[in-house]
């Protein structure tokens, strides 16, 4: 094995030539590399805020070093367990429920024969993705309003019960969050699966037909296995977002009456870190969150590598 590798190494074309050969690819990937350098790697310097008592005028390097003080504050906070639980549950439910939808949708769209109709369906399904979150939450609270909302009018008409204040009932919060998330993103997220579906070799279907497979069997035994690697990679990548529940939508949706299920790490950090400018604490809790995400994504990748031979790296 080793020998073989060495041999390959020796035969390798010089780097300069390699660069020249792949110059187009390199130029194409350059913007993304620069993007990640500037917006993801450079800001990591800011992580050191977590270990300082940050004073803006002294700057990141000049602020007094406090070691793990900020982290100790995070763990001693009486709300910490609840924040962790809420963040995890909202992230988990979002993953569980919103992950299968784009796949099912892509499979369904793929079966549509009329290509004009197919395009129309696809375009309509993307649309919600481009609506701003503020508008989505505005729609939600208008439709669900206990006094003026359509949903409650229908509900009271059918059941004869009093209206329900959906937006301020803790028990509906996660459902509303996840459901609106699915509605908004399933079309957009299906694009990658549709792309994968387009790459499936038609010869496979032809031979399956010859073997007498019906359409459902074709889907089950050809389409699904062909896009399995894509599905697994998407799953692994999404695992990394479980604890990364964004605060924009929750900030817009929650109120003190739903804090007990809706207050997540990001919103608490926002209230305390940005609004009350406790930057050290905010960064510490954010860093801790990222570490957990990292563990999730590495774990999922290891798991997938072990059991399915597909992995992100």
């Amino acid at each position: 094995m080793k020998k073989k590798q060495k041999k390959v190494m020796k035969n390798k074309t010089p780097l300069r030539k390699l660069i020249y050969r792949d110059r187009h690819l390199i130029i194409m990937s350059l913007p993304m590399i620069v993007f990640f350098l500037i917006f993801s790697y450079v800001p990591m310097v800011g992580l050191s805020l977590a270990f300082t008592n940050y004073k803006p005028v002294l700057g990141i390097t000049g602020s007094p070093f406090v070691g793990f003080d900020n982290f100790i504050k995070v763990f001693q906070n009486p709300f910490f367990p609840r924040l962790m639980k809420n963040t995890f549950l909202i992230g988990l439910y979002t993953l569980l429920w919103s992950f299968p939808f784009p796949i099912l949708f892509a499979l369904a769209v793929n079966e549509i024969r009329n290509s004009k109709f197919q395009k129309v369906v696809q375009t309509i399904s993307y649309m919600p993705y481009f609506i701003s979150i503020v508008v989505i939450v505005g729609l939600l609270s208008n439709f669900l309003s206990p006094t003026t909302g359509v949903i409650n009018h229908i509900y009271t008409m059918i059941t004869g019960n009093d209206s329900i204040s959906f937006m301020s009932e803790p028990k509906y919060f996660r459902f509303l969050y996840v459901a609106s998330e699915i509605w908004q993103t399933f079309g957009w997220n299906s694009i990658i699966y549709l792309a994968a579906l387009a790459g499936v070799d038609i010869a496979l279907y032809d031979s399956a037909k010859v073997d007498g497979a019906n359409r459902f069997q074709q889907m089950l035994y050809i389409t699904l296995p062909s896009i399995m690697p894509t599905i697994i990679i998407m799953l692994v990548l999404n695992m990394g977002k479980v604890m990364g529940v964004g605060f924009e939508k929750i900030i817009l949706m929650y109120s003190p009456s739903t804090y007990e299920v809706a207050d997540v790490i990001a919103t608490y950090t926002y209230r305390r870190g940005i609004v009350q400018s406790d930057y050290g604490f905010g960064t510490a809790i954010g860093l801790f969150n990222s570490v957990i995400n990292m563990i999730f994504i590495v774990g999922a990748n290891w798991f997938s590598k072990k059991f399915s031979d597909t992995s992100v790296w």
Partner: protein, 552 residues
């Protein structure tokens, strides 16, 4: 009391000596116009409340300021809702800051100073702010409200009502006490519904309960359905705490104030008191009988307006009187011709007095940044645009000849253009479209509202109807969060405990009101709040309050 007497003595002494002593107290001389020919200042602020006219367009009011002072303003405007976040981040980065910036609402103004982002202003004010010095001589509490724990001032104040009577007084220097505020924050009710059901305006809690019940059961909107929302909170949960007045638990305005001070200067936390429990009991009764809007805890001005326009709303717990015309107009557009919202005097307290809060304290509004090249000019400009007679007229009435006219006898009145605008916007909106009633510090002069509400004399009359014993000064903590002079160390203690306690208190209050948690468990709730560090927080608030009092 003693301090007040001494102040009165000093004032009368000053009066008898004429206007002269002003010069002896302050070094700053009245600025001669124009004082900054050819100079430029950068100003960062949240954009106009009237969103379609941005300050970046150099609105007429600020064109006038440029003509008067010679100073050209370069605006860095941000949308109102993003300001806290965007400006907060810029201040944290502490680089390339504008000369003058409006302090983000949620930011801790004192900390900006301690951190060296905002410049100390004591000497600058002394030497350049003629008008502010004039005002601080009459009202020393302005100085104590501005002075931080390290003895420095880091912010130029903005003022609610209660300090300026007329603009011209700032010119002559003979200030008179404007007395009661005009635009109060009070409960409001549909007078036309009261009349229809033959009810009186409520005065006590029992009155309120009966009126609200009648609203719910006797179909005042006449559509045959019990769809009325008898009571709501316009902005948030804290609005309905106003009924705590009946139990002696004072709540002011729509600003969160969980802290109060008793007559001995001892600080207490309201959300764990026995009176607060009584308040929750009352609110629980309202909620369980359907008299309180289901959305009381997650409302907003837009939602409230919508419910009102659908002719569903009977009363709001706490709101600014300036919104009355908006509510009435909303109903009239919807076809309710006899719609008539009126302000209601606050519920009587246990002593039988109906009290309102006056002199809405002083806000730490604008700061001069550490990067400012010409702080003297910045201070002069700020002071001129805020408190000079010309400035007050511009910020309160807009541009002479356009939005207002002055009669020969000196009475100011708004023009047809403002009061009956062809684009259908209200007079306050029209003034804002010119740049008046803005975001930079300015005082709401008493005559400002008198002119603005010339067509609603009943509102002015309502406000002036409060006798002296019915008007009280607010606790200094009413405005922005940092109104008490906390030290850096005290601030970090507050950070540690305050978010947790506030989160928990609001959450539990809602559970108590909605009956999801029995009030029998109130003691446990109090114990939990205490375990979250209430005593440490109380200690900190107390020492800051003592500091505030000693600066008076």
């Amino acid at each position: 009391m003693k301090a007040r007497k001494m102040m009165v003595c000093a004032l009368t002494a000053a009066m008898t000596l004429g206007v002269m002593p002003t010069a002896a107290f302050a070094e700053a001389a009245k600025p001669e116009l124009p004082f900054g020919e050819g100079e430029t200042l950068t100003v960062a602020t949240m954009d106009n409340w009237f969103a379609t006219k941005s300050y970046a367009e150099n609105l007429p009011v600020y064109q006038k300021f440029e003509e008067l002072t010679g100073v050209k303003i370069e605006w860095e405007v941000m949308p109102v809702n993003d300001y806290d976040e965007v400006m907060g981040t810029r201040l944290a980065a502490a680089q390339n800051l504008p000369d003058i910036f409006v302090i983000p609402w949620e930011a801790n103004a004192d900390k900006l100073g301690f951190d060296g982002i905002a410049m100390p202003l004591n000497d600058l004010i002394e030497e350049n702010a003629y008008y502010l010095n004039l005002l601080m001589e009459k009202y020393p509490e302005i100085r104590s409200a501005l002075t931080t724990a390290d003895g420095n001032i880091y912010a130029y104040p903005g003022f609610g009502e209660g300090f300026i009577t007329t603009a011209d007084e700032m010119d002559t220097g003979e200030l008179t006490d404007p007395g009661a505020n005009i635009c109060l924050n009070v409960s409001m009710i549909r007078k036309d519904w009261l009349d229809k059901l033959g009810l009186e305006t409520p005065e006590t809690l029992d009155d309120w309960y009966n009126v609200l019940t009648a609203f719910k059961t006797q179909d005042p909107n006449g559509n045959g359905e019990a769809d009325e929302i008898p009571l709501t909170a316009t902005f948030n949960l804290h609005d309905i705490y106003r009924f705590g007045e009946a139990f002696g638990l004072y709540r002011g305005g729509n600003e969160t104030s969980r802290w109060g001070a008793d007559e001995n200067g001892k600080i207490f936390f309201k959300d764990t008191t026995e009176e607060f429990k009584q308040l929750l009991e009352f609110l629980n009764k309202l909620y369980s009988e359907g008299l309180l809007d289901l959305e009381y805890a997650n409302n907003g001005f837009d939602k409230t307006c919508e419910k009102n326009s659908r002719n569903l709303l009977g009363a709001v717990a706490s709101d600014w009187m300036s919104n009355i015309s908006t509510y009435n107009a909303g109903l009239k557009t919807a076809g309710v011709e006899d719609a008539n919202w009126i302000p209601v005097r606050p519920v009587k307290n246990p002593d039988g007095v109906s009290q309102i809060t006056n002199r809405w304290s002083v806000w730490k509004t604008a700061a001069i940044s550490k990067d400012c090249k010409n702080p003297e000019l910045a201070m002069k400009w700020l002071d001129f645009q805020c408190l000079s007679a010309e400035g007050i007229k511009l910020t309160n009435f807009g541009v002479e000849g356009d939005s207002y006219t002055v009669a020969d006898d000196g009475t100011i009145s708004l023009t047809e253009m403002a009061t009956n605008n062809p684009d259908g916007i209200g007079s306050q909106e029209y003034l804002r479209s010119l740049g008046a009633w803005g975001q930079l510090p300015y005082p709401q002069a008493k005559e400002g509202y008198e002119v603005l509400w010339a067509d609603q004399p009943e509102l002015v009359e309502f406000s002036l109807g409060f006798a002296e014993n019915e008007v009280r000064k607010p606790f200094p903590c009413n405005g922005t969060k940092a109104d008490l002079p906390f030290t850096d160390e005290e601030n970090s203690i507050r950070l540690e405990y305050e978010t947790n306690i506030e989160t928990y208190c609001d959450e539990m209050a809602i559970k108590f009101i909605e009956g999801k948690e029995s009030l029998d468990n109130y003691d446990e709730y109090v114990a939990t709040v205490e375990s979250y560090g209430l005593s440490q927080l109380l200690e900190v608030e107390q020492s800051a309050y003592d500091r505030y009092l000693s600066a008076n």
